[in-house]
């Protein structure tokens, strides 16, 4: 039985587990509940957004480095997969993993250069990456197909369209689970702690012995590899690649928006953001066609998030719940001179320092009194 002081945490853990199991059940049963293949494609698009945004969050969430150029890694993953299948004649899913490995290798020199700068400079360098890739893939038409695009053969040619969608739905779901698992493992590791320290105060982290540059580079490469996997899987699913869409700053901006909306510090933040933004984009396109109205909605949403929920929806909601249940932090009171004297006496009397002579523990929930 949990002790009284641990009961709220125990309840919270059970609630989280329940929500996770419910989420998994909904996700697994969605293809059988979807009324038509169109809804299934919406589900796939949302899952693709979720993987991309979670992949972005390896860098953005852990280190606080905002990359607007992650679309380049998705595009490279898609094109590398497509080219390895069409020109290298590799099996589709071998090509997918080889392309992710190639993008990871390419991310090393990119990260080596880009991660030397911080803040706005890093954002600009990341934008430059996606623009360079756009120019290269548009101009090198003999190899990439240029503006004519690149047709990627379907990996399951004998399947019906709806079956094809269903298989890819589960593939994207599996990739999302893998990305979330990797994020969760890093979050709980010593490496993750170092990354979060970089986000909080990079100079301070260095002064405590964290090799910040190496940490950033490693997580940048991990992030690029997952982004490339998402891009490659999209390429195999969609089957038609165009540089304008694959190397778009907008795709990187959506990754940032989704992660910010849900909460970059939270495992499920980008996933929640992807559900909201992905559904919103599909709805907007369905209702208003090819007008740029969906961009207006996305911009408004970003403004609302930054102004009213800078930490995202999940932290805002959990903070509200903690306030309502009264489980938030209350204890920051400093000790008084008298208590200091007591503590000194205790130490001299070789008594454990966290116990006062009167037998009471220093109470952490007292008012500020200096």
């Amino acid at each position: 039985m949990p002790r009284d002081s641990e009961r709220p945490r125990h309840t919270g853990r059970l609630l989280r587990l329940g929500a996770l199991l419910a989420g998994i059940a909904v996700a697994l049963s969605f293809p059988s509940m979807a009324p038509s293949p169109y809804e299934l494609t919406v589900g796939i698009a949302i899952l693709n957004f979720a993987v991309l945004s979670t992949s972005w969050n390896f860098v953005g969430g852990f280190t606080g480095y905002i990359s607007l150029g992650h679309g380049a890694f998705a595009g490279l993953g898609a094109y590398a997969t497509g080219l390895l299948v069409t020109k290298g004649e590799l099996p589709s899913f071998v090509a997918l993993f080889v392309s992710a490995a190639l993008v990871a290798v390419l991310a090393i020199p990119v990260g080596y250069a880009a991660l030397r700068v911080r803040g706005a400079s890093f954002v600009i360098v990341s934008i430059a990456l996606v623009l360079i890739m756009l120019l290269v893939f548009q101009s090198w038409a003999s190899f990439t197909g240029g503006s004519r695009g690149l047709v990627v053969p379907r990996p399951f040619p004998g399947k019906l369209r709806s079956e094809h969608h269903e298989i890819f739905y589960f593939l994207f779901l599996g990739l999302l689970a893998l990305a979330l698992l990797a994020w969760w493992i890093i979050d709980r590791s010593r490496f993750g702690m170092g990354l979060k320290a970089i986000r909080e105060d990079e100079d301070k982290a260095q002064s405590l012995g964290t090799p910040t540059y190496t940490y950033k580079l490693v997580v940048f490469v991990v992030s690029a590899a997952f982004t490339a996997l998402a891009g490659g899987l999209y390429g195999l699913w969609f089957g038609d690649l165009d540089p304008v869409f694959q190397f778009s700053i907008l795709s990187g901006a959506y990754m940032v928006l989704m992660a910010l909306l849900g909460g970059v510090r939270h495992l499920y933040g980008p996933l929640l953001g992807a559900v909201v933004v992905g559904y919103g984009l599909e709805y907007s396109k369905l209702e208003y066609g090819d007008t740029p109205l969906h961009l207006v909605f996305a911009g408004l949403l970003l403004g609302v998030v930054v102004m009213f929920m800078p930490d995202g929806v999940i932290p805002a909601v959990t903070g509200l719940v903690a306030r309502v249940l009264g489980t938030g932090e209350t204890s920051i009171r400093e000790v008084t001179a008298a208590e200091l004297r007591d503590e000194r006496d205790e130490r001299e009397a070789d008594v454990r320092p966290d116990h006062r002579p009167d037998g009471k523990r220093p109470d952490g929930k007292r008012e500020v009194r200096q």
């Binding site: 490496f191 320290a197 260095q206 002064s207 000194r344």
Partner: protein
């Protein structure tokens, strides 16, 4: 501590750093001995914090050399200098605001190699060691609080605990008493004395002269980016150059 008392700890030769033509450090040559509580004093703008930043690798000096226990550390990055055994606090107290008090200390754990850092899991003994330092600072009851919610004084103690968690032999404290209430100043002084008695060397930048004179064994006075006097507190207090530079008399 492995170094012998009296052995040279930190030393600089001709350390120079200019910012837009202004020499913050102007060929500073100075050395500090192991096992002492050293103090670095001087008027505002005399180069004390720049000195800290240069010797800890935060700023690359334009010229000069820094050695720690005989090894050249001039061009090393900050994390390698920290791992060589030099810990530091900052003038404006810096903690990881959105991390818990306990995690603020666990960041400073030093695994044996990069692989252990990247792939190693947190260990129970590391947490126990972090709790030991929190208890010693008197902030163990706050271990689950986010550091940003702590008062200024508590953040000062947390910062010091984080530095100690990285197991430094030499600790550089930049204005440890700045903005802290008198009771906490006493506690910080006690801690410095205790830690010094356990073998740690201190180099303290501080404007609180009562603290400096009562706590330190050796005082170096900076003016215009270079040392102008050094010696025991009793000598420094009556040095005319110091009185002129620091007190304007």
């Amino acid at each position: 501590m492995s170094a012998d008392e009296g052995e040279q700890s930190l030393a600089t030769v001709g350390l120079t750093k200019t910012f837009g033509g202004v020499a913050a450090l102007d060929g500073a040559t100075v050395s500090f001995r192991h096992g002492r509580v050293n103090a670095l004093i001087g008027p505002n703008g005399s180069g004390k914090t720049t000195f800290f930043n240069c010797v800890t690798g935060m700023i690359r000096p334009d010229a000069g050399r820094t050695t720690y226990r005989g090894r050249d550390i001039t061009a090393r990055p900050p994390h390698r200098i920290a791992r060589a055994g030099i810990g530091r606090s900052f003038q404006l107290c810096r903690v990881f605001p959105r991390m818990t008090v306990l995690d603020n200390l666990l960041v400073a754990v030093r695994p044996p190699n990069l692989l252990a850092q990247l792939a190693g899991a947190r260990k129970r003994e590391e947490t126990e060691r972090a709790r030991y330092w929190l208890t010693r600072m008197g902030i163990d009851h706050l271990e689950r609080a986010e550091a940003r919610n702590l008062s200024w004084g508590q953040q000062k103690l947390l910062e010091l605990a984080g530095v100690l968690m990285s197991e430094p032999e030499l600790i550089l404290l930049d204005e440890p008493a700045g903005g802290v209430n008198p009771a906490l100043i006493d506690r910080i002084c006690d801690l410095v004395r205790e830690l010094n008695a356990e073998g740690r060397t201190f180099l303290i930048v501080e404007h609180n002269m009562d603290l400096v004179m009562s706590l330190s064994d050796h005082v170096v006075v900076f003016d215009r980016g270079r040392p102008i006097a050094e010696g025991p507190p009793s000598v420094i207090q009556s040095d005319e150059r110091v009185l002129e530079a620091y007190l304007g008399v």
